[in-house]
């Protein structure tokens, strides 16, 4: 049986088709979900892709948070369904408080698009099992609101519980506190990060690497083994 991975499209989502392609390349079946959908169509995991939902007007993720599909996603995530938020999806996960902290304008105030080195800090989450802790990977980064902030207590807690999933390596591209590029919830089923693994799944395309494929093979393996 093929594994069904839901990919949510909000008005203004951009990377939904790329994410569906990455899911396919990993060997799973992408299930398109529309922001007005009230159920998740038997998806076993959910990806919230990048883009500018509702134009990112007000704040990134602030409006899409109130869509019908997010009610279902939040409830499912609380019950343990694996959810990955990429870029706008990560911003959305913080707005819904599934993940702590918030995302602000990059400290240099510009949109930045580049190949970015990351260190995988936690290879124990639903989405990172195919990596090893400490491994450096290179995947594209592209955003203007990518600066992760949280208060000191939250940051200390994240560190202590091993919930910092990814850190920027070599260069902090946006002023994120403690070089944080991605985090997980306490259960490890919900993961958010700013860089785009779905853009690094085919040689030749984009930056030409395939370091991002591990996100999608990790979840596939986990769901198949259940």
């Amino acid at each position: 049986m093929t594994v069904r991975i839901g990919v949510v499209t909000f008005p203004g989502t951009l990377d939904d088709r790329d994410t569906q392609r990455a899911v396919r390349i990993a060997g799973a079946e992408p299930v398109p979900l529309w922001h007005r959908d009230k159920d998740l169509k038997q998806a076993e995991a959910i990806v919230l892709p990048g883009g500018f939902s509702y134009g990112d007007y007000l704040r990134a993720g602030a409006i899409s948070r109130f869509s019908p599909v997010m009610e279902a996603v939040v409830a499912a995530a609380r019950d343990g369904m694996p959810v990955l938020g990429i870029c706008n999806g990560f911003q959305l996960l913080t707005e819904t408080h599934l993940l702590p902290g918030a995302m602000l304008r990059n400290n240099h105030l510009h949109f930045v698009c580049r190949d970015q080195k990351l260190r995988v800090e936690n290879a124990g989450t639903a989405w990172t099992a195919d990596y090893t802790a400490g491994q450096e990977i290179s995947i594209p980064l592209k955003n203007i609101d990518g600066r992760y902030v949280a208060d000191e207590r939250t940051l200390d807690e994240l560190e202590a519980e091993g919930r910092v999933a990814f850190r920027y390596a070599g260069w902090n591209p946006n002023g994120s506190l403690r070089d944080i590029a991605g985090i997980a919830n306490a259960a490890g089923n919900v993961v958010g990060l700013m860089p785009h693994p779905e853009h690094a799944v085919e040689p030749l395309i984009g930056t030409g690497g395939t370091d991002g494929l591990g996100f999608f093979t990790s979840i596939l393996r986990k769901l198949v083994n259940v």
Partner: protein, 81 residues
Amino acid sequence: MARVVVDVMLKPEILDPQGQAVQRALPRLGYQGISDVRQGKRFELEVEGPVDDAALTRIREMAETFLANTVIEDFAVKVES
């Protein structure tokens, strides 16, 4: 019709690079004597019906859950004449 203004500013402890960029540019443009600049958002809401306590309570709630993200931002609600 009455206008209610909601001002949303980053909390003081959060770095505000937009405000800083403005401040850094000022001396170059010949403006001295501004020791700090913070940049935030201003929302002007046109409210139908009376702006009574009930309406203001609802607007405050809207500001708290929607217009501002209180993890990083403070807000203030004011009625304009």
